[in-house]
Structures are given as C-alpha cells and as structure tokens.
C-alpha cells in the first residue's frame, strides 16, 4: 500500500523532495505539499484504494504523513 501512496504523492503531492526519500512519518506539508495539492492527493487516494474519506477525516492531520494516510485507509477498508 505504501508504494502506491508514494506513487500518488509523487504524481499529485507537488513535493519539494523525491517521494521515494520520504520516511513513513515525514511531514508531507513540511515537504512542500500545499493544501491545494493535498486535495488532489485525496482524490487520487480515493480512486486508487476505492474508498471515500468522510468529511470529518478531511483534515490536515489525516494527510500529514504516509503513516497517517495508511492508517486512515486501513480504517476505512475495515
């Protein structure tokens, strides 16, 4: 799952660093992801993992790292 998330971050996150170099807990916002880019990441994640993030999960802390995104998707899958 994390490889797919990295691929989405690389394509849509507009990061200032290479997504391959991110650790699980690297702060994506500090790595250059803007609020605007984060919405594109959310859309791509919904498509890739066939989930829908409910509105109460559409907040900064859920999308701040690969680990937090993984945990959110797992929560929705189960």
């Amino acid at each position: 799952m994390q490889d797919k998330i990295r691929k989405i971050l690389k394509e849509h996150g507009r990061l200032a660093v290479d997504a391959a170099t991110l650790t699980e807990t690297s702060d994506l916002y500090q790595s250059g992801m803007t609020s605007h880019a984060s919405v594109n990441v959310m859309l791509a994640l919904e498509g890739e993992f066939d989930v829908e993030f409910p509105d109460n999960m559409l907040k900064r802390s859920v999308f701040e790292s690969i680990a937090s995104i993984t945990s959110a998707i797992n929560q929705l899958k189960n």
């Binding site: 990061l15 200032a16 916002y29 500090q30 790595s31 250059g32 992801m33 803007t34 609020s35 605007h36 919405v39 594109n40 959310m42 859309l43 919904e46 829908e52 993030f53 409910p54 509105d55 109460n56 559409l58 907040k59 900064r60 802390s61």
Partner: protein
Amino acid sequence: MRSLTSSQLVEQARIIGSSTAAAFADQVDSDARFPSESVAELKKHHLLSCYVPKELGGQGATLTELAFMCEELGKHCGATAMVFAMHQIQVACLVHHSLSDKFFSNYLAELTKNEHLIGSVTSEVGVGGDMRSSICAVEMNGGEFTLNKNSTTTSYGAQADDLLVTARTSSSAPSSDQSLVLLRKSQFTMEQVGNWNPMGMRGTGSAPFKLSGRGPISQIMASPFATISSQSMVPVSHLLWAATWVGNAAASMSRVKGFVKQQARSKPGTLPPTALRMAELAPSVQLLRTSYRHLLAEYEDIIQDESRHEELSTVGYAVRMNNLKLAGSQMIVDIANKALQICGVLGYKNDSKFAMGRILRDSHAAALMVGNDRILNTNANMLMILKGE
C-alpha cells in the same frame, strides 16, 4: 446567540464610531489618510488590547464583542473599522496560539499598556496573492533571525507599531512551510515603495512596502503558520471583515431610512414609492447580519473547547468560512448599490447627508481584499473532495 446589549466594550466602540470616526470619515476618505483620530481614541480606551485575557491585564473580550465593535465602527468609517479588525486578527492569532509561550504572553501583557497597533505582512511580491506561500525566509544566525520581504500591500504599514510577518521557516524550506514572526518597532525598517490612491477604503493606507527586520528567535511563533492560518487568521478575518460589512450595510440602511422618511414627511398620509424599495432592502441587511453571526457563535464555541480545534482544520470548515466571504462581499455591494438607487440624486451627491459615494466605494473592497476568484478557486478544489455541501 450571546446577548451583548450591555457590553461596555461595544458601547465604547459605538461612542467612538458615532463621534470621532464619524467626524473624520469624509476627510480620511478624501485625503486617503490614516484615521489617526479614531485609532488614538481606541488606544486611549485600551480597545486595541481588549481581546487580551484578563490574567494578562487585558479586558478578556470575546470575539463576538470584537465583531460587534467592528459593526459599530463600520457604521461610520469603513477604514477605522477595517484597521481595528485587521489589528484584532493579529491579536487573535497571538492569543489563540501563543499564550503558553513566555515571550508572547509577556508581549501581550505589554500590549495592554502600550496599546501598540499590529500590522500584518502576509502579502509578497512574486507569490501571486497566495497567503500560504512565501519567498521570504527567516535566516537564522545564532539566537537571532533576519528577514527581508517585499509586500504588495501592507495595510497601515506606515503607522503600525509592530508587525506579524509570514516567512518560510528557513532558506531551504518549501514555499508553503511558513512561520509567523513578530517584529517590534525598533527591530524593523519599512520603506513604502508605491502609492496608495485607491477607489475606496482609502484610510487603510495599504501600500506596498519593503521590509527588513531582525530579532531574537523567541519571536518566531512555535505553531506552524498552516495551523494559525486555518484555525485563526482565516476564520477570524472572514468573521471580522463581515462584521465591518454589516456596519457598512447598516450605514446604507440608515441613509435610506432618513431619505424615505424625509419624502414621507413632505406628503403626509401617502407612502412614498421608495418605501417599498426600503422594505425590500431590509431583508438583505438582516440576512448578511444573521449569516455571519451564526458562524461567529459557532467559532466561539469551538475555540473555547480545545478538543474541537481540529474541526477548524477540516476541508468542510474552510469551505463554509470561504462561503461567508464570497456571499457577504457580494451582498454588501448589492446593498450599497440599492441604497444609492433609493436615495437617488441625493445619494449621488457627495455633499448630501444621504451621500452614498464613500460607502459604495468602500463596499467594493470586500470582494477584492483577498480576491474572490482566488477563494472560488480554493473552494472549487475542496468541493471536489467534500461529500456534504
């Protein structure tokens, strides 16, 4: 809804608005100069620091009180109301995000004595109007930072005592990784690099400036600007701006009522045709007022409950606060325009007591200060992912 009819703070703002601000509003507008008399009165009554908590020597005002004060000032002088609102937005950022920090709690305690006016330097040449993006960076050197910034607009930049400035957290940080940095009067130089001769809001002195500053690193706020922006700067801005627009709308309505009453007196017993137009306008003013006050009450509830602060960082909340700016800034122009139509030539004449010129010109700033198209773009993006409306 909180009842504030007895608030002394709002009453003080009402008096300053109806006396000093009203007396100088036309001169401030025609000369495009800072409303120094009104701001001096606000300082004299310790109203610039009224949002500082009582424990630090302030008056512990609520945001609702600040908003009602903006309404009162906005009834008489749009520039005074906007300067007051913009200053309080800075104070709210400090109070909400840095009370536990020793330097900033001391700073706020000092504010209650020196009544400094705090300016905001968030705009920057080269970032295309995006407040959440900076070129300017804090450069660390030992325990000190330096920063240099070219702003496109810094309201009352020439009069501000202290400044809150956005800057990248370091010279290697991406443009969206920003801090909010305080600069005190002795720590910066501001050179005005352009004129300020706008259509309305002429007293706000929102010219471009070239800023250079340095200070100890304790003056860099610990919370990331991303958090300060979404939880305080943006919502408080939209709420207090809307409050000033309600003041502007009330001023329009008051001219309309005066005009219609004058017509009615000239032909006792008959309802002048303009009376229906007046009755048509009243619901718009009411709608503008209630829509912002509803969001204001909700924000007050959330900000007082720390476990709910994250709600302010959700996409849904950001969309709703932006909706207030989008809708309110259009309503206010419509209200002022209709008021002009009702008052007719007497509204069109600048030297008439029903003059609508300044009010109408001021109202147009609402859609431009943070351009509505930028906000529409942001909302369009966020609505793609939001499930509710």
